[in-house]
């Protein structure tokens, strides 16, 4: 029998396998990406270098927010050998149980990965990766630990940076940073677990401008996770870049001076440079040292305390407290009345106390005197004329028409809406329109008599202190304003575009004169309500307000600008439960103005009286 033909079976078999393998390899290497991606996953690593956050300067070039070096104690489980837990716990000042608990916590914190194919759940924790065992150690703490780390292989230090506030001021305005949550990591690829993000205030609003650019390095790693070389000779690497510094319009000197004046009081101060709209100071009292909320350790220790404090130091009053404005609202009412032509600068109304209560003063013969005396009946008359213009048939339709017109004017003053300042967490306040009252009383069920308390800034009307300061700025500018903002420049760029656009009110320039004259009288003439705010060499124009408070002592409010002929500063001071506006808010404003314009205060007694005063302040000490 001849078996020679069988050589072809064998040959065919060899060639078949050869072709099969060639096709398979063609598929694996050229067609299918799966294995290439898998190789990247296995052998390459992305290292991110987070730059320090951008720093912040005040208008005089003082660094008010900087960064400080901290240290993390890192651990790599695979490198840990014969750990003497007792000695280690002693070194870091923990108990042995705490150390064990921390190990478990790290593993748990990494979460798990669900494999859809096998249906198995595996931990993301890897023994060969670095994890922070202790975070945010200060230089003193690490210098106590670091020299002994050679006895504990697998542990080493790593430098990191966190915020530092040398002035301990402006906490509520600057805001604070905290670790990103899972949603933030998922929605923005910039962030990795453990990164910090601006949580409130300017830090939140300018998050993108402050966070800078991360440096990314791709390296080829070994199975033991050691770096071997840079990937593709660093072709895809980017260097880390710290963000350009922010320069604020804020003047740190009066900011911290304002905080000192407001100590042991509740309320706020907002100061604006009228010509630019830059916020010079924004004091929220009570406040806290911003360094208390730097880093995870501090936040977990101090945040609950601050959040539970009955004086609410975390509450950014200038942005979020919505108060009835009280008498300062009369300024805007005068302007609208004149613009609408329902009064002239020379209109006089008797002080008819049967309409509404008033203090004793001569009847106002013109707008300036009305402002000076802050005459309640006068403004009843004015606002009635604005609301009830007699242009529509029937009192209700007429009131609806008038109120909506009035509402439009108010809107042009930036009231009844958020001001779009560059800080997160502003409230809109409230300026009612016809729809608002329709909801309460029903359509055509209300007229001026129903809503008359709005004429003296009570009732439904609500403004934030930022709104109030902006009114002062508008009057100082005679009819226009820039949206109040903090940031003067970002690196070499100026402020954002919306802060470079002049906004005009619906009231013409000529009507501001009488109101300003009235405000001058308020401070500088006998019979004015704020003589305590008077300064010898600076002509301040102001207006007091006393806001009725059904829950307790009235609030004291004062808005002003100065100097009269060349306004450099517009200010609003609001002191809760302090009674008459002229007594507390007025002097505080004058001290702020003097400090800002002259850098020193002449009346030390006044200053001392204010600083020492404790007004309606709930002591946390028992």
């Amino acid at each position: 029998m001849n078996f020679d033909i069988r050589r072809y079976v064998i040959l065919a078999f060899i060639i078949l396998v050869g072709f099969l393998y060639t096709f398979r390899l063609f598929y694996m290497q050229v067609v299918d990406d799966t294995w290439t991606l898998r190789a990247h996953e296995v052998a390459e690593k992305r290292i991110e270098i987070t730059p320090p956050r951008g720093v912040v300067f005040d208008r005089n070039g003082m660094k008010i927010v900087s960064n400080r070096t901290y240290f993390n104690l890192m651990m790599v489980e695979d490198e840990i050998k014969n750990l003497d837990t007792v000695a280690f716990a002693k070194l870091i000042g923990w108990t042995v149980e705490d150390v064990r608990k921390r190990f478990k916590e790290i593993i748990k914190g990494e979460g798990t990965y669900y494999n859809k194919i096998t249906g198995k759940r595996t931990s993301n924790y890897q023994k060969i990766r670095k994890y922070p065992f202790l975070k945010e150690l200060t230089l003193e703490e690490i210098s106590r630990i670091a020299p002994h780390l050679e006895n504990f292989p697998g542990f080493y230090e790593k430098v990191t940076s966190m915020r530092n506030y040398p002035f301990k001021s402006g906490a509520n305005i600057m805001g604070y940073l905290s670790e990103v949550n899972r949603e933030e990591v998922e929605s923005d690829h910039f962030y990795k677990p453990g990164d910090n993000i601006g949580r409130s205030g300017i830090e939140k609003f300018y998050e993108r401008e402050l966070r800078g650019r991360k440096g990314i390095k791709y390296i080829v790693t070994s199975a033991l996770n050691n770096a071997i070389e840079s990937f593709a000779d660093g072709k895809y690497d980017t260097t880390a870049r710290q963000a350009d510094p922010l320069k604020l319009g804020m003047d740190m000197i009066i900011q911290s001076y304002g905080e000192k004046l407001m100590q042991n009081k509740k309320g706020c101060i907002v100061a604006i440079e009228p010509s630019t709209g830059e916020i010079l100071a924004m004091v929220s009292a009570p406040s806290y040292d911003p360094n208390l909320l730097v880093g995870k350790r501090n936040i977990s220790a101090n945040y609950p305390k601050l959040a539970l404090d009955k004086n609410m130091p975390l509450f950014p009053r200038p942005l979020q407290a919505e108060y009835p404005p009280g008498s300062i609202f009369k300024l805007v009412q005068s302007l609208i009345g004149m613009q609408e032509g329902v009064i002239t600068a020379r209109s006089g109304f008797p002080c008819d106390k049967s309409l509404v209560g008033c203090h004793d003063h001569p009847s106002a013969r013109n707008v300036a005197e009305a402002v000076q005396y802050s005459c309640n009946p006068y403004y009843y008359a004015v606002v009635r004329r604005i609301i009830q213009q007699g242009k529509k048939k029937g009192i209700f339709a007429d009131a609806e028409y008038g109120l909506n017109k009035w509402h439009k004017y108010m809107r042009s003053f930036g009231l009844g809406k958020t001001l779009d300042a560059d800080v997160s967490g502003q409230r809109p306040g409230l300026i009612p329109d016809s729809k608002y009252y329709d909801k309460w009383y029903g359509h055509h069920q209300w007229a001026f008599s129903t809503i008359r308390s709005i004429s003296i800034g009570q009732g439904e009307v609500k403004l934030t202190p930022l709104h109030m300061a902006n009114i002062a700025a508008i009057i100082a500018n005679k009819g226009w304003f820039y949206v109040p903002h903090f940031v003067k420049s970002i690196g070499r760029k100026g402020p954002l575009a919306i802060y470079r656009t002049k906004k005009r009110t619906m009231v013409n320039e000529q009507y501001y004169g009488p109101v300003i004259e009235g405000m001058r009288k308020v401070v500088n003439e006998a019979g004015g309500t704020a003589s305590m705010a008077r300064l010898d060499d600076i002509e301040i124009c102001g207006k007091t307000g006393t806001v009725q408070n059904p829950h307790g002592e009235d609030h004291s409010v004062f808005i002003a600008f100065a100097p009269m002929n060349n306004p450099k500063i517009a200010i609003a001071v609001f002191v809760e439960n302090a009674g008459f506006g002229g007594t507390w808010a007025g002097p505080i404003a004058s001290l702020m103005i003097e400090k800002y314009l002259k850098r020193k205060v002449s009346d030390k007694d006044k200053e001392k009286r204010i600083i020492d005063a404790k007004l309606a302040y709930i002591s946390n000490q028992r």
Partner: protein
């Protein structure tokens, strides 16, 4: 003097050159994969490449000896050589285990693996035995004797244990098949006991080896497609995997019958048709049984089979090696990452374990890409086909059987080793000839090749 002239003029240069090319390619790859910045010299004997170079030099020296010695001694001393390696295979079982296997005689890296040399001695004895019996003498006892020559070293190797080399020994079955030494006589002795049956030959028995591989192939394909719904362009609805396999076989069967009717001699036609129909029934039945058998397995058994076939992934567990190896191979792309640029499979990065020995195909594939692999496969195929051509031109049966043994051993090593890297073969540790780091395998493959070249150069001297 005359002898040396005849050696040079009678040497099979194509095979010799492809062999040398393979050695160069292997050495180059090893240098790249094990490259160390601190010891850049290829002659640095503290590094793997320095050592491998020594092994190659030693192998070439042994080759020179083989060329100088008369080839008759392999035939004459086949049995003593075989006996000596069996002795070594027994001795090795009393040696300390390295990585869980008692495969080494000697200390550390200077040891040798007798199993590598057992392949040559078994090939020689098998050649001697087969050449000693005539075709007519092929009966149960000759089949059993030939099988025994294989089974004794196989059993000893399994005791080490070394599953890889054990599997390689089954390559001799191909050689026996080529020589007509099949299990047919055994099957006939059973079949012919049935009254009235008087077969001279069963087709299944004599083609047992190819049929076995067809069975394995069909089973694996069926299992791979077990949970897949196939969309055929000519069918409006998807079909299950086994149906797809069966219908593919059906199409091929019908095509072969048509081909047969058209082109073959009349005498062959009916017989061929019957064989194809029976083949179809058998293969589709097998596919059906495998499919249903698999579905009725317990989940953990299924799991194990699926892992083995690569249907299920366990990239950081049982499947670690293969997963990393396939990642390295696949990431090579069309043109590769360039010489000395294997980022996944270099020894330094160590993602692919054993990338200098069993998985050395990885760095080659990673660095040279599909283009490089095409060249390598071309070289392999050329070498194997050349060996078979050489085998078929021998006048002596001893030479032919030995040449087939060398060809099939190399084929097994290539196919299984590369198969490991691309998910086609289970991960059993066998070296890639001429590439993998290691003295025993290098010397064994070189000796094998030199003996073949020597035998071939003297093929005209005598008729054995």
């Amino acid at each position: 003097m005359r002898k040396e002239e005849s050696l040079i003029s009678h040497l099979d240069w194509p095979l010799f050159i492809s062999f040398i090319l393979m050695l160069i390619a292997g050495m180059t790859t090893l240098y790249s994969v094990a490259y160390n910045d601190l010891h850049p010299s290829i002659f640095d004997v503290s590094m793997m490449y320095g050592k491998q170079l020594i092994w190659i030099v030693v192998s070439l020296f042994l080759g020179l000896l083989v060329f100088l010695i008369d080839s008759d001694i392999y035939r004459r001393f086949a049995f003593p050589i075989y006996g000596f390696t069996l002795f070594l295979l027994v001795v090795v079982l009393f040696m300390p285990a390295v990585h869980g296997a008692r495969a080494w005689i000697g200390i550390g890296s200077m040891g040798i693996q007798p199993a590598e040399f057992a392949k040559i001695s078994t090939a020689l004895l098998l050649a001697k035995y087969i050449s000693s019996i005539s075709v007519k003498q092929q009966n149960i006892s000759s089949v059993l004797t030939a099988s025994a020559i294989l089974l004794v070293p196989m059993a000893l190797i399994l005791l080490q244990p070394d599953a890889g080399t054990f599997v390689v020994f089954t390559s001799f079955l191909f050689v026996m098949y080529r020589e007509g030494l099949t299990f047919d006589p055994i099957i006939l002795s059973f079949v012919n006991r049935i009254p009235g049956v008087r077969f001279k030959e069963t087709w299944v028995g004599s083609h047992f080896i190819p049929i076995l591989f067809v069975m394995i192939f069909i089973s694996v394909i069926t299992l791979l497609l077990n949970s897949v719904q196939l969309d055929f362009f000519f069918l409006p609805f998807p079909v299950s995997g086994s149906i797809g396999v069966i219908s593919t076989i059906l199409i091929f069967s019908v095509l072969s019958i048509l081909f047969l009717q058209r082109f073959s001699a009349k005498r062959e036609r009916s017989r061929g048709t019957v064989i194809i129909i029976l083949g179809f029934v058998f293969t589709s039945g097998l596919s059906f049984i495998v499919d249903h058998g698999f579905n009725s397995l317990a989940p953990h058994q299924k799991d194990r089979i699926e892992l083995f076939l690569g249907l299920r992934e366990d990239p950081n567990g049982k499947d670690y090696n293969r997963n990393r190896a396939m990642a390295a191979v696949g990431s090579g792309g069309l043109l590769g990452k360039g010489y000395n640029k294997a980022s996944v499979s270099s020894v330094e990065s160590n993602h692919v374990p054993e990338s200098e020995t069993d998985f050395i195909f990885c760095p080659f594939a990673e660095e040279w890409g599909f283009v490089g692999i095409t060249f390598l496969f071309g070289l392999y195929l050329f070498m194997l086909i050349r060996i078979i051509l050489i085998a078929e031109r021998q006048r002596s049966i001893f030479n032919r059987v030995y040449a087939y043994c060398v060809g099939m051993i190399l084929f097994y090593h290539f196919a299984i080793n590369i198969g490991m890297n691309i998910g086609f073969a289970p991960v059993i540790g066998i070296p890639l000839p001429f590439f993998s780091y290691g003295g025993s395998s290098m010397m064994s493959f070189c000796m094998m090749m030199f003996i073949l070249l020597k035998l071939d150069s003297q093929r005209k001297d005598v008729l054995r």
